[in-house]
Amino acid sequence: MLDQALLVEISGPLWSGVKILILIALVLYTLFSGIMVRQVMLMTDTLEVGFETPIKIIAVLHLLFALGTFLLALLIL
């Protein structure tokens, strides 16, 4: 699916508009993911019950997933 997606050329004002909207949404989402990582740090400082490391890892993985999607969008859109 990724190979096929790389071959698609986006043309026309409609799809160009959609592409810009998706990229803006992904930038905002990546910022949100960064805030979420900060929030998790703050939460784990507030309450320590011995499950802090897995939660921090999940939050960072989520941020990396968002960054990866943004970079992929830049590449294939």
Partner: protein, 217 residues
């Protein structure tokens, strides 16, 4: 003549308190160190920002896990939604690369939803120590609220279980009326509300005894 050295007497008092008053792990059920437990009686590894060094955590409570079922079902529907939508002929007109990124974006939103709901459940806790009760609330991404009241300020404790599911799974609300600035602290949907009220009652009695014996911290 003024006292020159008073430390041993203090130590003695502390030991006395331990011997006579302190709640022990076998006094009530539910002792666990599982970090995901919704009811932990005297957990060993709990530390929180507002705690004093001498304060001992007696109860760590969260909403009953069964209260997570609605968002888990929503998350499952969100997970399968792109697969269902993909089969509709309407979406064939959309270029493949946009479909791919839109699907990934949807899964990102789904993961954020799951993460937020989990974090909300995990970190919105109610803590009872041997001195105070705490309600730790993370209202949204950037807003945190910690409410506390001293055990000796508690005036009335009410536990209520209403409805079929709460009765079956033994969870409900514990309402604590206090003489503190915040008149009421509510522990919502916590497991074993009856036992929680019982523990609070026991702690109040202990505080009363401490007051009478002049051992107030």
């Amino acid at each position: 003549m003024p006292d020159v050295y008073t430390a041993p007497q203090k130590k003695k008092m502390k030991n006395k308190k331990k011997e006579h008053n302190e709640l022990r792990k076998q006094d009530f059920p539910g002792h666990t160190n599982n970090p995901l437990a919704a009811y932990s009686y005297i957990p060993d590894k709990v530390n929180f920002i507002a705690a004093d060094s001498e304060e001992k955590v007696v109860l760590l409570l969260r909403k009953h896990p069964i209260t997570n079922i609605p968002w888990i079902i929503t998350a499952m529907l969100m997970l399968i939604a792109p697969l269902l939508l993909d089969s509709l002929p309407l979406f064939d007109a959309i270029p493949l690369n946009i479909r791919l990124i839109a699907s990934l974006f949807w899964y990102l939103i789904t993961s954020a939803f799951v993460l937020e709901e989990f974090l909300s459940w995990f970190f919105n806790v109610y803590i009872v120590t041997d001195e105070r009760v705490f309600d730790v609330d993370f209202v949204n991404l950037i807003y945190r609220e910690i409410t506390d009241a001293n055990i000796d300020q508690i005036q009335d404790v009410t536990s209520r279980v209403g409805g079929v599911i709460p009765t079956v799974f033994n969870y409900g609300d514990v309402v604590i009326q206090t003489a503190a600035e915040i008149p009421q602290i509510e522990f919502l949907s916590v497991p074993r509300p009856g036992t929680v009220a019982q523990v609070l009652r026991e702690l109040r009695v202990q505080e009363e005894v401490e007051k009478i014996e002049g051992r107030v911290r």
